[in-house]
């Protein structure tokens, strides 16, 4: 430890998991009982991909802890009226009163039944930050597990602020809830708006910096020059929402040129024969899809061990075709083209000349990028990783938010994944990797989630669309199981349906759906949907109508302004928790180790703030769910199962346990799990060392070895399964009289064609709001800020101070040429108006943005959060409509809207 300023100085081990790109390990310097500094944890330098460092957000935690604006006692609302302009009249109360009030409401709800008359859970919960709150909410998941059905579908940004389509299609195609390039080996990366330098965390930043110095070329394609664009070799300022067209040109060029033939024949469905109705031609006996064996001259099942599958062209063959709802067509000697042949014909019209006009880029750009991509693909080369020989394909395509969300998300995700398949870089070294699993099971291990399906692909847990299996009554208000087969049914699935539907239903009924009801009780933690969702005015109105809202509150904010009870929990430096680290997690968090890390309190709780585990235990006891709660902890709901082969640290299920006891048992179980029972060190060990890990073979970064081991193929390029379930879903919905999801149903196509996506946006806005889109000449987009994203730190002065060093945080970024036409100068106050709403802020002139595009970084526009409410910085969220017309089949939309700009009088 370096020189101490006082005799009573110590460094406390902890972690930062404020953003999805974590967790990262850190040390907190404590002087005379006061946390004063955040530092990297260099003791973790060997095991952590970024050398034990944490990003700028972690440094905000000192101020976060001692912020004088914190809520430090439980509070209750005294004004029954709720609304933005209504004083809630919060008054301090004791923890006993607060917990008794909450528990009383919960017991009442349970007595009425855990679901309401519409079948929706009476208890709802919203957590922000892409799942990161679970790293801070202690044993609350165990309480929720003990409770039963909980509606988690009131989104706080999901579907538009996340990588939504990528989550769903990624999990389907390669167990990739999140997708990342294999940056340590990648040599050529085409990045469509993926803002890894802002949202890839320390691992992403470190790896890409290493890659740059190594000579990797990254082409950044986006309407504005983001931080990531700045750090790229080339910036292509593409027209918003036309990325798919650019990618289709890459497919067009690649399909005519160099391909990884072996990969396509044996690891994809490219050679599968497509029957006349658009479904696979199948063996009548086994129903296995058929390929044409060029060597033997006949149709053979996909798993035929010998033979040489025909890749392109057509063959005359016999078999059956299985359509929706098990319709079977028999074919005798019909001509069937291969899936690859369909693909070649599908992409044939997508020439560079065609795309140049759509994307507003030089004709040469997509052609050259495609050629360079192929030049770097190293088709035919191999690499040995931990003894495993794998293809080396150091090329990748990355997609950003807005690119893979909403309409066009299907096209972009498909094209990206397919591009990788064409050169053999999907799930191979240097290529495109999935880095976490959330919808398939088990979530902790991508390899174990690989299970063979009937058609030679990985099995996928689609929500059923069969006549007797379709879930006609949604179990949650986002209707994810009813409307989105791809959303599956894991603990994460509710948040991956069309979460705006849950909000929209609070204001309007949807035909032939259960009556929209508010939840009896709504728990809110580390999220502020009244700021972070779309059409924030509408969300605010809905929240104001919820009968009983409990917010685990840090400071006042726009959502807990509507709360009935505020509970002050320990912040990041005050609470205790054990979490899993390493393996493969979000974004670029793929490690050579896996294990556990402890969040060890560095500061006593301020005021009456309580550890989240204490709060959860108290609730469990007062709601009379203690036994079930302890059982959930024993089963692993707090992050690690407390018993295993040769060890058992299970808690007595009949007693309420203190925080240290619970985490000591978890630490012991974690030690045992990592050492096959050899070590059983508890809390003391983790407090001293901070973390404990075991090796995680780099082979596990890639799905390819497991795919090969199980003889499976990636479900590319032809989406026969999606075609079938789309038809079935349409049938089910129509049988129930639902036709408002028809345009989404139409998206289930085996080979997605280009659609006029910008036009789709414009037409939808014109029709819904009866406006002329010509009056809204700019596209408004947003971009993540590394300093703020996911951090819940907008009320922290230091973050504001340092973020202001990065251009654009203070206003609306506009191209100077566009500004001149409007007689605008830098710093002028402007009104930005969409058909939905208007906001205002000051103009920030930058050359790094298209003249037809405006940019608002981050999400601000606060009116209650201390400090932030004085920023006077706009957000695009208030300008974004919640519209079914702008919702794709996966239930997502994109951060994109057309706006006008008008100079306002007065200085900004």
């Amino acid at each position: 430890m370096r020189k101490a300023r006082t005799e009573n100085t110590k460094d406390i081990n902890s972690y930062c998991y404020q953003c999805v790109a974590g967790p990262d390990l850190m040390k907190i310097r404590v002087e005379d009982g006061v946390a004063t500094e955040i530092n990297p944890n260099f003791a973790a330098a060997e095991v952590h991909p970024a050398g034990g460092k944490v990003c700028v957000k972690a440094y905000g935690l000192i101020q976060k802890t001692y912020n004088p604006n914190r809520i430090l006692t439980p509070m209750k609302r005294t004004n029954p009226k709720k609304g933005r302009h209504v004083d809630p009249g919060f008054v301090p109360i004791s923890w006993d009163e607060a917990l008794d009030t909450v528990a009383g409401e919960m017991r009442t709800a349970r007595e009425k039944g855990v679901t309401d008359t519409s079948g929706y859970p009476r208890l709802a919960a919203s957590f922000g930050g892409g799942g990161t709150p679970t790293a801070y909410m202690g044993t609350l998941p165990a309480f929720l597990g003990a409770w039963g059905p909980v509606d988690m579908s009131f989104g706080s940004g999901q579907g538009v602020k996340c990588y939504h389509s990528e989550h769903l299609y990624g999990e389907l195609w390669h167990r990739a809830f999140t997708v990342a390039p294999d940056t340590p080996l990648c040599e050529y990366l085409v990045s469509f708006g993926a803002n890894v330098e802002a949202s890839g965390g320390v691992c992403g930043v470190k790896r890409h910096a290493d890659a740059r110095v190594r000579g990797m070329k990254r082409v950044q394609i986006e309407p504005h020059l983001s931080v990531t664009g700045a750090c790229s070799a080339e910036w292509v300022p593409i027209r918003p929402k036309t990325d798919a067209a650019y990618m289709y040109v890459m497919l067009h060029e690649a399909a005519r040129e160099r391909l990884d033939i072996d990969y396509l024949k044996h690891r994809t469905s490219a050679p599968y024969l497509i029957a006349p109705n658009g479904y696979f031609l199948r063996d009548p006996e086994t129903r296995k899809p058929l390929m044409w064996d060029s060597r033997g001259g006949g149709a053979v099942p996909f798993d035929c061990p010998d033979g040489d599958p025909m890749l392109d062209g057509a063959a005359t063959a016999s078999g059956i075709e299985v359509g929706p709802d098990d319709i079977v067509w028999k074919h005798d000697g019909v001509e069937c083209r291969t899936a690859f042949q369909h693909l070649v014909e599908h992409v044939a019209p997508y020439t560079p000349e065609w795309a140049a006009e759509i994307c507003d880029v030089p004709v040469d750009s997509p052609r050259r990028v495609a050629t360079e991509f192929l030049d770097h693909a190293r088709i035919g080369e191999t690499i040995v990783i931990d003894g495993e020989v794998m293809p080396l394909r150091p090329v990748a395509v990355a997609l950003g938010k807005t690119v893979n969300n909403g309409w066009g998300g299907y096209q972009c995700c498909w094209a990206r994944t397919l591009m990788a398949c064409l050169v053999g870089s999907l799930e191979t070294p240097g290529g495109v990797l999935g880095t976490t699993v959330r919808l398939n099971r088990p979530a902790g291990d991508r390899w174990q989630s690989v299970k063979p399906g009937p058609d030679g692909f990985m099995e996928y847990p689609m929500n059923p669309t069969g006549k007797n299996s379709w879930v006609s009554r949604p179990p949650a208000r986002s209707a994810h199981r009813t409307l989105v087969p791809l959303a599956a049914n894991s603990a994460w699935s509710q948040a991956l349906g069309p979460t705006h539907l849950a909000w929209m239903m609070q204001n309007e009924n949807f035909d032939h759906m259960p009556d929209a009801t508010p939840p009896d009780i709504w728990l809110v933690y580390r999220t502020n949907p009244v700021i972070s969702f779309w059409d924030t005015d509408a969300v605010g109105e809905a929240v104001a109508n919820f009968p009983f809202t409990v917010c685990f509150a840090y400071t006042n904010d726009e959502t807990n302004h509507m709360a009935d009870i505020l509970l002050p929990d320990c912040t990041d430096l005050e609470g205790m928790q054990l979490i899993r680290i390493g393996g493969t997690k979000y974004i670029e968090q793929y490690w050579d180790y896996q294990g556990f890390a402890l969040r060890n309190p560095a500061s006593p709780p301020q005021g009456e703030a309580k550890d989240f585990t204490w709060i959860a235990t108290q609730l469990a006891e007062r709601v009379e769910l203690l036994q079930e709660y302890n059982a959930m902890i024993n089963r692993g709901a707090a992050g690690v199962g407390l018993s295993g082969d040769g060890y058992d640290f299970s808690l007595d299920e009949t007693k309420a346990h203190d925080v240290e006891t619970i985490w000591d048992a978890s630490c012991r179980a974690a030690s045992a799990e990592l050492t096959d029972g050899a070590a059983t060190d508890g809390l003391d060990y983790f407090q001293e060392h901070g973390f404990r890990v075991q090796d995680f073979s780099r082979r596990h970064w890639y799905l390819y070895p497991e795919i090969v081991r199980q003889g499976l193929r990636f479900e590319m390029p032809y989406q026969e399964q999606l075609l079938r379930i789309g038809k079935q879903l349409g049938e089910r919905l129509h049988e129930q009289g639902i036709d408002w999801w028809d345009s989404q149903i139409a998206e289930y196509q085996p080979l997605p064609p280009w659609e006029d996506l910008p036009g789709l946006w414009e037409t939808a806005l014109e029709k819904k709001y009866n406006v002329s889109i010509d009056d809204y000449p700019f596209w408004l987009v947003t971009s993540r800020s590394m300093q703020y994203a996911w951090g819940g730190n907008v009320g922290i002065q230091m973050i504001k101070e340092v973020a202001d060093n990065v251009a654009g945080h203070g206003g609306i970024i506009m191209n100077p040429a566009a500004a001149r036409k409007l007689d605008l100068a830098d710093g002028d106050l402007v009104e930005i108006k969409s058909p939905v709403n208007a906001t205002q802020g000051k103009v920030v002139l930058r050359q790094g943005i298209r003249p037809d595009t405006l940019l608002m970084i981050g999400q601000f526009d606060h009116w209650a959060t201390p400090l932030a409410k004085d920023f006077k910085v706009p957000s695009m969220n208030a300008l974004m409509p919640m519209m079914l017309e702008l919702t794709d089949a996966t239930g997502s939309s994109a951060d994109l809207v057309k706006v006008s700009a008008r100079k306002l009088e007065g200085a900004a």
Binding site: N39, A50, V56, Y59, Q847
Partner: protein, 534 residues
């Protein structure tokens, strides 16, 4: 020898501000004080745009202007190259801050907390009253270096001996080490990569290097600096309209109207003293109270500047650095001015008046040199500022004398009027030369615009009007007293207007510049830029 140096790899830096934050933690700097920060510099025009993130802070120059100007010797340089500030010696005059061409120095006069008046626990625990009212800046975390060396650690290699910003850098863009050790990490980086130092043309020999490309093959010089000298002098701004606060030169705020008051009153007073001496040599003896008036002017100027320093009770420390600080020299000369002026008042002999006048000239010269040594302010550091300050001081003094003489003796003031005519001609000449030099060497565009706006005033009010009035007085003796007085007033007003503008409006700082935009991966490098310059 050891030369601790920082290397920032611009290819790696992503502008995340983690180093900025880590520095704030390690050094407990108050809000809006950033010893380390990262600039966001945009170059080019749409669609050919580059954006470069550039860490900056104290460059720990081998030839630090801040140290040379420091009147109290608070700013010093260690043998290992680290430039330090002794908070107990510093008077808070902020001369170092305007002398620094890297805008690395801060001065905070009152306690400042993140959330207004509410001091947080960690702020109370790390309160540093010794830093109030004095200059502060990056120390290269010298406490860590010293601790490390005492414990056998290697700064830049062992984290406990390494600056906090370097430790925290998530892109591994920042490196620290001994540039004098050819085997050190930073020496290796400099040897193997192309690099530049910021504002190297100013001759400060900064200890902060920027890597921008890795191609060693085409290096032009043995030092690894690939940019030819001609290219560097050609480095100019590009006015793309891009918003770059904290990058484009901005108006310095360290010296306000009170500092301007010193140049205004001190310049006029010392000019008057010199002119009075010259008058005595011509055989006339102006009223003795004019000498007192001159001293009062100088005293008023010094009083104003005293109210601006952060540690007023330490003002005597101003005399501790006569070796290099022109502020010290000005203070010492001021003592001699008052002493000799006082004697001359009571004993108005030609000799004492000459001595007082000579010290007045020296005082005036010191004022010119004070501005010239402020290397951080392009409008001040231009060498021709010295003759301009000197010339205008004399013109102002003469103008004041003419006003008094005209009122007292009417046409008898003709010789003084003639002298003023010569002095305003000299001032006009010096002003023109000064402006030409600024245009030739380049300056912040806003500085040039503001000074261009002064041209009419300097010509009209400062030259044409007084000249015409003097000629009018010569040809119309009946109106001579009024016209001469008015001539003196216009000459004086022009000088004051110029100095007030120079100190409070045209004193934009150096801003920041890069010699090259860095290679990102296999992408190209780009030309450098000096935003906001013309």
């Amino acid at each position: 020898m050891t030369r601790w140096s920082m290397v920032a790899d611009l290819r790696r830096c992503v502008g995340c501000q983690t180093c900025t934050s880590a520095c704030k933690h390690a050094n407990a700097t108050p809000p809006l004080v950033q010893w380390r920060r990262v600039l966001d510099i945009e170059t080019g025009e749409y669609p050919d745009v580059q954006r470069t993130f550039v860490p900056v802070g104290c460059m720990h120059c081998a030839d630090p202007p801040c140290m040379h100007v420091c009147p109290s010797t608070a700013t010093r340089q260690r043998d290992d190259g680290i430039v330090t500030i002794d908070y107990d010696l510093c008077i808070g005059c902020a001369y170092c801050a305007v002398a620094c061409p890297y805008q690395a120095r801060y001065k905070v006069d009152l306690p400042r907390f993140a959330f207004g008046a509410k001091q947080m626990r960690h702020e109370a625990a790390r309160e540093m009253p010794e830093r109030l009212g004095v200059a502060q800046k990056c120390t290269f975390c010298s406490d860590r270096i010293d601790y490390g060396l005492e414990n056998g650690l290697t700064p830049g290699v062992d984290s406990e001996a390494t600056p906090a910003c370097v430790n925290s850098c998530i892109a591994d863009a920042l490196h620290f080490g001994d540039a004098d050790d050819p085997s050190s990490n930073v020496s290796t980086l400099l040897r193997e990569n192309r690099h530049f130092r910021m504002h190297e043309e100013l001759g400060t020999n900064p200890g902060f290097h920027y890597l921008w490309d890795g191609d060693r093959e085409s290096l032009d010089t043995a030092t690894g600096d690939a940019m030819a000298a001609d290219d560097k002098t050609a480095l100019r701004g590009n006015d793309t309209g891009a918003y770059m606060p904290g990058v484009i030169p901005w108006q310095q705020t360290h010296w306000d109207w009170r500092a301007a008051g010193n140049f205004i009153f001190g310049g006029t007073g010392s000019g008057l003293l010199a002119v009075l001496a010259a008058t005595a040599w011509s055989g006339t003896s102006p009223p003795a109270w004019l000498g007192l008036l001159a001293l009062a002017f100088i005293g008023a100027g010094l009083f104003l500047v005293w109210t601006e320093i952060g540690r007023m009770l330490r003002f005597l420390h101003v005399v501790l650095n006569p070796q290099t600080s022109w502020m010290t020299r000005e203070a010492m000369i001021a003592l001699l001015v008052f002493a000799s002026g006082g004697v001359a008042f009571f004993n108005p002999s030609l000799g004492w008046m000459t001595v007082a006048g000579a010290f007045g000239l020296l005082f005036l010269y010191c004022q010119g040199r004070i501005l010239h040594e402020a290397k951080g302010i392009p409008a001040w550091r231009e060498p021709r500022i010295v003759t301009l300050i000197f010339g205008t001081g004399l013109a102002e003094g003469c103008g004041l004398l003419l006003m008094a003489s005209a009122a007292l003796s009417g046409t008898a003031a003709m010789p003084i009027a003639a002298a003023l005519l010569l002095l305003i001609a000299y001032r006009a000449f010096a002003w023109r030369r000064y402006l030409r030099a600024l245009l030739d060497t380049g300056a912040p565009a806003r500085t040039l615009d503001i000074l261009a706006g002064l041209r009419l005033w300097m010509a009209g009010l400062g030259a044409v009007a007084p000249a015409a009035l003097i000629l009018g007085g010569a040809f119309l003796p009946a109106f001579a007293p009024g016209l001469f007085a008015l001539a003196g007033l216009t000459a004086l007003a022009a000088g004051w207007l110029f100095k007030f503008t120079l100190v409070n409006a045209a004193s934009l700082n150096q801003g920041f510049a890069i010699d090259h935009t860095p290679a990102r991966g296999s992408g190209p490098t780009g030309v450098g830029v000096k935003p906001g310059w013309r």
